[in-house]
């Protein structure tokens, strides 16, 4: 595993980084946004998860509409991140903590998000990151979360990356005060 800088301003203590797994051609942040901007990949993904789509958790939605909804959500997320990359660090009052909020360590379930639900659009895209400092985060995984828990195979695989990242940071002497944070569009 290595790290990729997504946007790290010069002469700053802050910045957004991503993990880059050894067997992958790109870092996890880039990979996530490539996938959620790819209608073919999304169509195939939602076809495989069609039972979850029809389960009513997010209300019944067709595969085609799920693809378009995801792409719209990704676009909004990227806009917020892009604007932050351009201007965010110039404003002392702002910081990456405005984009990434702490998650409870117990389990990654919707119930835990509900405290701050008003600030979360009813979206299903997630970017999880580890906070290293006030303005310094490492993105570990991105996911499409269609169900209440993380037991689906595709989500469990993403959580494994989180564990790998924790080990990697420990091995390299990098301390992290909090466990996991998630992107929230305010």
């Amino acid at each position: 595993m290595r790290l990729s800088r997504i946007f790290v301003p010069e002469n700053s203590n802050g910045g957004l980084w991503s993990i880059h797994l050894d067997d992958k051609p790109q870092n996890e942040f880039d990979r996530f946004f490539d996938l959620v901007n790819d209608p073919e990949w999304l169509f195939d993904f939602f076809t495989r998860q069609e039972n979850d789509l029809l389960s009513g958790f997010y209300s019944d939605i067709t595969v085609a509409n799920a693809v378009l909804r995801t792409m719209e959500e990704a676009e909004e997320m990227e806009d917020v991140l892009y604007d932050f990359a351009e201007d965010g660090f110039k404003d002392d009052k702002k910081g990456l903590q405005y984009l990434f909020k702490p998650l409870n360590n117990f389990e990654y379930v919707i119930a835990i998000h509900q405290k701050s639900k008003a600030r979360i659009k009813k979206g299903w895209l997630r970017i999880y990151a580890i906070r290293l400092d006030v303005n310094c985060y490492i993105v570990t995984v991105g996911a499409i979360k269609l169900t209440l828990d993380m037991r689906r195979e595709h989500l469990a695989a993403e959580l494994k990356k989180l564990e790998l990242t924790k080990m990697f940071l420990r091995e390299n002497g990098i301390e992290y005060p909090e466990n996991l944070n998630t992107f929230q569009d305010e």
Binding site: R2, L3, S4, R5, I6, F7, V8, N11, S12, N13, G15, W17, S18, H20, P25, Q26, N27, F29, D30, F33, D34, N37, D38, P39, E40, F43, T47, V63, A64, V67, L68, M71, E75, E78, D79, L81, Y82, A85, L132, D133, C136, N172, G173, I174
Partner: protein, 106 residues
């Protein structure tokens, strides 16, 4: 540079992130990219319903499978000719509401 940034820098990958460039491209070309993605979804839906592969579609349209793959990836700035061919071959309407020669395509 503080200790943390120095430590992170030592662990840096050789492959730089391309995200900012991609995001910029997405913002600058949003109007047609969204239409291209919507077209891709209609094509993928029709292929699934008609049990056709991308290769089948390529043969029917007399274009390469690579071109079809670009279309379903939603990154192709499609010509009116290609859109019309897709509509005829798959029997679908990609853009509705356009009136041509007095006929509404809605």
């Amino acid at each position: 540079m503080n200790d943390l940034q120095e430590k992170l820098g030592k662990l840096e990958s050789q492959t730089p992130s391309n995200w900012r460039q991609s995001a910029k491209h997405g913002r600058e070309n949003r109007e047609w990219l969204n239409k291209s993605a919507a077209t891709a979804v209609k094509v993928l839906e029709a292929l699934k319903q008609q049990n056709l592969s991308q290769k089948d579609l390529a043969e029917r349209m007399a274009i390469s499978p690579q071109q079809i793959n670009k279309i379903v990836k939603g990154q192709e700035n499609l010509t009116l000719e290609t859109i019309s061919k897709l509509e005829i071959v798959l029997g679908i309407q990609i853009f509705s509401g356009i009136v041509t020669h007095g006929k509404s395509a809605a």
